[in-house]
Amino acid sequence: MERTAVHRRLTWQFARVVEGVTETARTKSIALDAADWPGHLAGQHVDVRLTADDGYQAQRSYSIASAPEDEHLVITVQRLDDGEVSPYLTETLVPGDELELRGPIGGYFVWQEALGGPVLLIAGGAGVVPLRAILRHHRAIASEVPVRLLYSARTRADLIYRAELEDYDTVITLTDEHPEEWNGRTGRIEPNLLAETAWAPAERPLVYVCGPTGFVEAVADALVTFGHSPDRIRTERFGPT
């Protein structure tokens, strides 16, 4: 495995909210002006810290949704109803507000052109966020490495970046809805769908799987069963088990 040594000290810095974009009923993209941001690789995340007026603090990690080349640093946050930080970020925060962040964090679940491909991105729900950063980076550098996104969501209303993704080689499958007029797929990401949409193991695609734990476990297991080498599969899991 290649190593990208990041041995800089990560200090907290201020960022100002530039814009909030409602992606779905539960998710919002927050564009930040972070003057001291050192740059990032597509797929990395950032720590966000909030401070209450009595000094109490809470911090969480969020995947970065923007490409390194984008003007603003963007995070896309899914509101968890019992969450401490996500309801604040999605409902209270407005443009002009400040928050603290530090990063970038993580160096394995990233794609850079030198890693090659073909690149298969597999997202479950909000797991699409870091993969969107990879797609945007891929386009920003006009890479000719083949890249494809396989994206599983509950319903059309749950699709994050829906319009933007139409512009990419994307296969969408809906698990909880079977619309009559729908040119995507329905049902979970089954081995058959993987066989149809993934490159053959012999082509050694570099696969990035991101989503809830159960989703990532099932997809990564299916890929290995198919003959994809575990060292070509990078995963990022979130949420409770």
Binding site: H7, T51, A52, L99, G106, Y108, A220, V224, P230, T241
Partner: protein, 202 residues
């Protein structure tokens, strides 16, 4: 610098009776999130072994059967993940590293744990001794699930949980310190949650 107040943020404080148990920057969760860099290896216990190699006279190794015949301990303790969650009163069963390292004479001061799937993590040897570390194979009275590191994982609960390497297959005793997997990607070399040593330089 004084952090800016986040307008309208109240937060959810940890119960005061518990807050002494929660390191800075952490929150308590009843869940058990899974974080791994790749697919979950499914290692049959029939071909599993645990090995101590490197800077010692004679490498040591145990089959699954031999390992299970060693005296084991039940450990109930809080765990802290660098991704900010802490989980209180988790219960495990495993073999103390003191048992596995008994009578080992070595000049090594460092350890690199190695695992199925290629994961590694580095620790000072002292942190594995004196009742601070185990190889655990049960969680809450059940065999450890593969996604949580089964059949067996290293368990070093006084450090951030990435040091408690899943799918562990052995430790290498070393005179020099070499960074493991996440340590090479900018995570802290030691990882003390009470000093909030998350990343390099913390």
């Amino acid at each position: 610098m004084t952090p800016p107040v986040s307008r309208g943020f109240r937060g959810r404080r940890t119960d005061e009776s518990l807050s002494r148990r929660v390191p800075p920057g952490q929150y308590v969760t009843p869940d058990f999130p899974v974080l791994s860099a790749g697919p979950t290896p499914h290692q049959p216990v029939g071909s599993w072994s645990f090995e101590i190699r490197g800077e010692l006279d004679e490498p040591r190794s145990w089959t699954w059967e031999q390992f299970n015949a060693l005296p084991s301990e039940r450990i109930t303790v809080d765990i802290h993940c660098v991704t900010k969650w802490s989980k209180l009163d988790t219960s495990w069963r495993g073999v103390s590293l003191d048992t596995l390292l008994d009578n080992v004479v070595t000049r090594a001061e460092h350890v690199l744990a190695f695992c199925d799937g290629g994961y590694t993590t580095n620790l000072p040897l002292d942190d594995l001794r004196d009742g601070k570390a185990w190889i655990v194979h049960e969680y809450e009275g059940e065999p450890l699930e593969p996604e949580h590191g089964g059949p067996a994982r290293l368990f070093v609960p006084h450090l951030y949980f990435w040091k408690s390497a899943k799918w562990v297959r052995g430790i290498e005793l070393r005179e020099d310190d070499t960074p493991g997997f996440w340590e090479s990607y900018g995570y802290h070399n030691y990882g003390d949650p009470w000093k909030e040593q998350r990343y390099t330089g913390d």
